[in-house]
Symmetry: C2
Subunit: 312 residues, 2 copies
Amino acid sequence: MELAEIYAAYRRIRPYVHRTPLLTSQLLDALLGKRLLLKAEHLQKTGSFKARGALSKALALESPKGLLAVSSGNHAQGVAYAARILGVKALIVMPEEASPYKKAAARAYGAEVVDQGVRVENREEVAKALLAETGYAFVHPFDDPLVMAGQGTAGLELMAQAGKLGVFPEAVLVPVGGGGLIAGVATAVKALSPSTLVLGVEPKGADDARRSLEQGEIVRLKEAPKTRADGVRTLALGRHTFPVLREKVDGILTVSEEAILEAESLLFTRTKQVVEPTGALPLAAVLEHGERLPGTLALLLSGGNRPFDPWP
Amino acid sequence: MELAEIYAAYRRIRPYVHRTPLLTSQLLDALLGKRLLLKAEHLQKTGSFKARGALSKALALESPKGLLAVSSGNHAQGVAYAARILGVKALIVMPEEASPYKKAAARAYGAEVVDQGVRVENREEVAKALLAETGYAFVHPFDDPLVMAGQGTAGLELMAQAGKLGVFPEAVLVPVGGGGLIAGVATAVKALSPSTLVLGVEPKGADDARRSLEQGEIVRLKEAPKTRADGVRTLALGRHTFPVLREKVDGILTVSEEAILEAESLLFTRTKQVVEPTGALPLAAVLEHGERLPGTLALLLSGGNRPFDPWP
């Protein structure tokens, strides 16, 4: 994957996405003894970086009749948003047992949710049948160079914004599920600043990317891992993302569920930002592995979609 | 109260406070049919505007031995922070039954919490005895021109930031408890843009400011009102704030508890910002009285101190 692909994606999607801010927090810096740059993708359109990749793909298609995706997470909203920009329909295949919150979120962005009779086991089949029937274009959540390039635009912005601040991250920490985000971000970061480390972050119970890089081949989890970080419950890296990670990612850090929760809480109470568990993975890595990490770190806060809890 | 007092306060406190951003949200604008400018005091030092007033007072004192305040809310943290800047001690008198969360928050900012044997009924006496004993300076949460001028600096910034965006608010909506914030903000806004309306917002069950302005004298609530918005449970306006409100505030809107909750939820899910119930009052007023309000509105999000709720 080349930097040029990411620039091309950026030219396509720029009118439709937020250039999300790069936040800083003196409180967090003092608490953790680091200089942190927080790339705020929880403030992105649809509440996560997924809008970038879905738009990058959708805008590269030649007049698609509609978009179809299999997702019970942020990708659903990204595809729904992309379809709205194109003025076409979005069909999202989701298991019946997916949370009503997630179904409602996809519908709120204008998608049609297909869930009747859909289970985790048969959702790919349902999607294939629907694709044949409708002629819609399939948008993969990560394993597609156009999607990966779209996610990489967050890395482009991050480096430009850090440069403007006059602060150069020694490492960029990125959540890893299927690897689409880190593949794109690593491509951008390594092209612009080869000495900056790009580190993935996974929950301890979902460390397929770490094992895949260690073993030099894609390791597939036997079942969906139990973790708060529902955005990275993917079973395996993809055939397009894996080689990019092998080439460009310097390492994978794993974090405990306790560290994820603590990171979410710090972001909530100290920076007043609503970040979902997956988006808190990079800060969890700083909490758990801070002593092994350099002093100036960029953290990719990937999303902020979580339900509101009234209090008290 | 004059604009010059607010500029003087700003010169004192500027090195120690954040120039908080003026946020916008296309989603909220589309949903509510308004152009909203959100003055983000939940991102202020200590998590609320109270740092401005406490610092404005503390930095005007001649070498105080320490600071003392009576508060179980954000003012406690503001005074603790001001004391830290001055390098002196802060004593905060708080009823024993105040929430452990609030005591911990004040202590986290370095204050000493005095709560043994303290009840709501005797806390003023306890404070007086401590003042006599320690020689510390008392910092009132609102009824002090130096405190009011400090809070007004949020209004100065808001107008400058709106001007830079090229958007001029037709009305500024501000939560009202003791009236310190709105007195300062109204002074700044009316001096800089006399045609901009300044509107207070109170919960329906805590409408003493509305009644005070209507009756032309300070109306005192019989007991602390029950409302989610714990920052405005004050019983009455002060003798310094009331005349400023009479002169400069154009009206008071009251809102239901349901509207406050809905406003908090919108800020959480749509803007990904953690805003406490009191800080959500202005948005609640837009939800409940939108049709009576002009199209371009600045909302003062006064604070963001609420505990983190893990989810799921």
